[in-house]
């Protein structure tokens, strides 16, 4: 039985994304430039899409690892 930290890494990243989202949300109330999206040239949506696909793939890899280690 081999243990991996894939699941906890995914949870970490999710939590961090939540944290950044809440930070930007609260800062955007007094920061107009940030609220207008001047903080970052690339839109956060595209970054989020990439992270989401990576995390989804990681989940399927985790399933495969579990199936492989069960035998």
């Amino acid at each position: 039985m081999t243990s991996t930290y894939l699941g906890s890494r995914v949870d970490d990243i999710d939590a961090q994304m939540d944290r950044v989202a809440s930070l930007i949300d609260s800062a955007g109330r007094i920061d107009r430039e940030l609220a207008a999206g001047l903080g970052c040239n690339a839109s956060m949506a595209s970054v989020q899409v990439r992270i989401d696909t990576a995390l989804a793939n990681t989940e399927s890899l985790l399933k495969a690892v579990r199936a492989a280690t069960k035998k």
């Binding site: 800062a27 920061d31 430039e33 903080g39 040239n41 970054v47 990439r50 890899l61 690892v65």
Partner: protein, 180 residues
Amino acid sequence: MAPRQSVVHEDRSPYETEAQFRERTGRSAWKRVPATEARLRNSRLREVQKNGGRPLKAANFEPKRVRKAKRKVLIRGYVGNKMADVKIELADRSEFFRNLRLVKLQRRKIAQEMHVLADRLRALQREVASIEHRVPTVDLALVDETRELVGDALKAAAAAADEFFVFSRQRIYYVKDLAA
């Protein structure tokens, strides 16, 4: 009506001379005729006389003092609006400068957290890469694909984190209308 006789004297003027006029009417041409009651009643001036001897309101400009009073009221209203605008902008400005330090702190914090996010993605990438040594029986194509996808996500997140870092280091200026 019969055409008037001997009014036109030969070849010079279409109008009669004063002598002709005196002969015709029996009075001097330059004396005013006394205004009788019937004359006034038939006069073209009687419309004007009805209105106290003044033209109608719509026919003329208003007198100077009325104009001045009206203009003063207009100017006062304009200045009031201007003052209100300036007051609102001043309040906006002072709020901006009150929040300035907080805005700086928040921008730095967001940049830090974006870097942390990129770090965690890097950790996930390493974890995925180490799977193939830990669990040799797993599908290697899946591992490679996952590692590439995580790498893409890492690149995007790291670039965004760098941009946020630069943004947090920029000087903050007062902007009036950027976003609603």
